[in-house]
Symmetry: C2
DNA sequence: CGCGCTTGCGTGCATATACACATTTGCACT
DNA sequence: AGTGCAAATGTGTATATGCACGCAAGCGCG
């Protein structure tokens, strides 16, 4: 391996971050009318689906830093979309979606689907599969580091 | 196209953002001793390479929102790594790397290369090519939207 | 019981990201 | 010169991200 001269223009990090920005922009456009950002949509979706769940577990599911999740939860708590319930272990905060939260997620779902479809239609089935496959395999390989 | 039922778990945006977070983490580790974040490394590199360049042009090159760039420039200006020079057009601010900025970039370059190499070694040549190819083609397709 | 280690979380700080809006300058046309 | 539009940039506000640090609650053991 190695040997090839690498230019910062070939930076994998730079490229993937750029792609993330671009894709985020597209989803944001579709979700704008719900007031939800794409991260909030994912977060709300996981809480809705996973039932009572702790922050720590959520950070595993979402592959997001725990403290980042704490902040991201803020707006959703403030808007009454998610609530903190007391669990047996007083350290833990069981998160549950409120009726309003579930309703909003349900309303946002087709908008997300439209965004996802727009992206997939633009890329085509093969490229979509290639991209998803490459990302998934990369994450597996990079998990060890 | 379309027809397949999509679950939020298959969200392209969610996946690519997660990948970006993970990859960012790896590069950050390598660049930590320089005090540069990966975005700052890219930014400083572009300014160093492109000579005097305006914010607007940089935002095109980096595919980053112009106003984001304005903020990201802040720390680099504060640390004297990049300077604003007056150009003929007083609206524009020509950005140039200072000697300190160029020196730091030169010092950071091998550390970035080590990060890039670590990622590529972990993924292997084929997956690296697949990932880069998929991202590049995706960006082309999504540019139109 | 009480000591110490572990676990689960929040906070302070700094950066990254981008939309809407305001400001300044340049330029063309009258 | 004057007016009006376009171009280049900064700011207000809000979210996203994560490291270092601190705190409180559980847990094991003498």
């Amino acid at each position: 391996m190695s040997g090839l001269r690498l230019s910062p223009l070939d930076c994998t990090c730079f490229r993937i971050r750029g792609a993330a920005r671009r894709v985020t922009q597209i989803y944001s456009k579709h979700l704008a009318s719900t007031g939800l950002k794409i991260s909030q949509f994912s977060l709300l979706g996981f809480v809705t689906a996973q039932g009572p769940v702790s922050i720590g577990r959520l950070s595993d599911l979402l592959a997001t830093d725990r403290t980042t999740l704490t902040r991201n939860l803020g707006p959703l708590l403030k808007d009454g979309l998610i609530e903190r319930a007391q669990s047996g272990d007083k350290r833990r905060h069981d998160l549950v979606a409120t009726p309003a939260g579930r309703a909003l997620f349900k309303r946002a779902l087709p908008l997300w689907a439209a965004a996802e479809q727009e992206v997939r239609d633009a890329m085509g089935a093969k490229l979509t599969a290639d991209l998803h496959g490459a990302i998934e395999r990369s994450m597996e390989k990079l998990a060890a580091l």
